[in-house]
Symmetry: C2
Subunit: 132 residues, 2 copies
Amino acid sequence: MNPLPDNIKDFLRDAPVCRIATVRPNGTPHAIPVCPVFDGAYLYIDLDGEGVSAAGVKSNGQVTVLFDEYSDDWSKLRAVILHTKAEQIEGEWQEVTWAMIREKFPQYSQVEWEPRMTLALTINGWSQWGFG
Amino acid sequence: MNPLPDNIKDFLRDAPVCRIATVRPNGTPHAIPVCPVFDGAYLYIDLDGEGVSAAGVKSNGQVTVLFDEYSDDWSKLRAVILHTKAEQIEGEWQEVTWAMIREKFPQYSQVEWEPRMTLALTINGWSQWGFG
């Protein structure tokens, strides 16, 4: 895999939202928006462990992540697609991750969300458009 | 399936972008942003017929569509997820659809995109949050 260029790493780090695609145990696709944290290597997300996306992750671990920005000026459209493998993290790694999540998203304290099924996503492939 | 409420139909009709999740022939998920048109019954999208999403559609016809709006005010987050089956359309149906696409997205004429693999998506199930 080609390493991610710095401008794409910055885009991933700053994005408040991305969308994840998963495959349910019955083979059908699913998609939800999530608020991610990127540390330059892993992408971290936190899911409802009882939800549809979590069922897909538990079944096969495959998560495709779409970061894109829409603009009515279509010359400004850009997107990054990451093909990843998910690993549930716990203990100290989860605590460190949640420190990053709380720093990026102070909203978490307002809605009183606590860590659920926290995933570290290993990026195994990527593509992009609009980043030159 | 419960019928879509009017406020959700309006949301689908007005949205300039949504994200589609598909399952590739090898079973892995994929996701891309698309600019949809909704006529109150079918959702219409147009794909690169040689792309990854199209390969999944040709393989199994399953498309899950996510409409969501992000806000830093998390009390305003809302989303609609549609589980659909895709059917490629051609001839008069495709022409009527492209008239709707060109009316909603005048950008298409600027980028000189022509109809490619145009899909009518039949909604077989849906869920939502944030719409009351």
